[in-house]
């Protein structure tokens, strides 16, 4: 595609840069996770994006993540990035990454040093209708961790009562 066309296309190729497509294609973490502690299904009703996501935690840290994601490239790339990077994080780590992603999208902030991959979503900042696509997997993961922690709290609670 010529440079002129490229310019005329207003940066849409940056939006769909190779990193996005690579992550989407790689689909890290794809598949249902058996024996998960928590499972979440989340929709973006306006888009039809949909993710089912499971996590297994150990001592508050994610040890495994599985997801099945139907949606746009941005959503799938975000899910795949989490499939690769989430293991090892705790709830706090996920919250920090989500906040960083929101800051990138909404305020054009640079990605934090330990999450350079989030930078690939920067061009989506200009497209408000796409923010939800990118964030959907992060929201699903936060819910799953919340569920897992509530579940383990419930188990603790139950233990207590025994």
């Amino acid at each position: 595609m010529s440079g002129a066309t490229n310019a005329a296309m207003g940066g849409v190729e940056a939006l769909y840069q190779e990193a996005i497509k690579d992550y989407s294609r790689a689909d890290h973490g794809h598949g249902r996770l058996d024996g998960a502690v928590a499972s979440v299904r989340l929709d973006n009703p306006l888009c039809g994006d949909r993710i089912s996501l499971q996590v297994r935690l150990d001592a508050g840290r994610i040890v495994a993540l599985g997801h099945e994601t139907k949606g746009c490239l941005l959503c799938r790339a975000a899910a795949s990035l989490l499939g690769k990077r989430a293991p090892g994080l705790d709830g706090q780590g996920v919250a920090v990454a989500t906040a960083a992603l929101e800051a990138i999208l909404e305020q054009g902030r640079p990605p934090p040093g330990d999450w350079p991959e989030l930078g690939m979503f920067a061009p989506a900042g200009a497209h408000a209708s796409r923010h939800k696509c990118v964030l959907l997997p992060f929201r699903a993961l936060a819910q799953a961790i919340g569920q897992a922690e509530a579940g383990s709290a419930a188990i603790h609670g139950a233990n207590h009562r025994e």
């Binding site: 595609m1 005329a8 296309m9 207003g10 940066g11 849409v12 190729e13 939006l15 769909y16 497509k21 306006l46 888009c47 039809g48 139907k70 949606g71 746009c72 490239l73 941005l74 497209h127 796409r130 696509c133």
Partner: protein
Amino acid sequence: MSAAAALRAKFPLLVANPGLHYFDSAATAQMHRSALDAVVAHETGARANVLRGSYRLAEAADRAYEAARQSAARFLNAAADEIVFTGGTTAALNLVAQSFGCLLEPGDRVVISQAEHHSNFVPWQMLRERRGVELALIPVLPDGTLDLASLARVIDDRTRLVAVTQCSNVTGARTDVAAIVAAARRVGARVLLDGAQAVQHGPQDVQALDVDFYAFSGHKCFGPGGVGVLWGRAELLAAMPPFLGGGGMIGAVTEEGYTWAEPPRRFEAGTPPIAQAVGLGAALDWMMGLDWAPIHARESALCAALIDGLRRIPHVRLLGPEPSSARAPIVSFDIAGLHPHDICQVLDAQGLALRGGHHCAQPLLAALGVEACTRASLALYNDEADVAALPAGIVRAIGVLK
């Protein structure tokens, strides 16, 4: 100047955006200058509340509002006192589901189709919950048209109302209204037509269609948003209780109770969308002055050319009926492995405005076996350049996204 160019010149947004290829008229058609001018003229020259004032400004407002009702009546070939102004198609359909719905009994059947927009789907699901009415569906065939062979079974003798779209907002498939009406009449059922996707293609004749209710939105036929029309046969409206309560829809109010005004006011509670109705009237007047035969011929030819262009692109699956004359100029498609939002995004970067998603027709998409699709819809201002640009844009989009 081509016919389309002459028409485009009357649409301020299109004039201001000469590079824009607007393919989303099925969601919202662009606004004709006469409609916009009428809104401005009303707000600056005759703004007052209607129906209750005897000063000249209020009389002018009243006259303008009632003239708009006359325009809507002529547009549908109906009587003015059968025209109810609503907030839009959705509000009109909910009005029928509630006010006509009140007259139904548990066990009565309402029939809709699998092809309905959510606005003609959910109100009937709500009625089912509220009154124990049975809701039955006319299935669609793989091309998106209604399965007419099912009519005798689905429209049974408990059926009181058949509510279907005149045209699918996804596949463009035109409903065989005569077949529906015949099946409904056989069992004494009433017929409601959702005209949201028909009115942008010219005036309608509810007498010739032989239906009982007709609903449409101003923003779909080159008029303002925030206004729509429900037409209903006088004897049906007269038998229906009001839907919303408030100023203007009453005969008298006491602490004990209230009496109803006659239709159409019975169904127009509160201050109506006055300037919007006036703008809609202007849009309809303009449409009634057009020569539609050549416009229809052009819309059909463009639609056929578009289908042809899209069919040449590998991996593109087209939805909807053949031949293209069986549909309004709407073409939806799916590209294996690509999501409609990404496609629309890359098309937008090329000045092509299309909408992707479920188009508020999830049951239809489920029946057609797709999660989401990309839709190109045409109106009288689209031209050959638009239709030539789209297939090329899609080929590029595939290049960017794959």
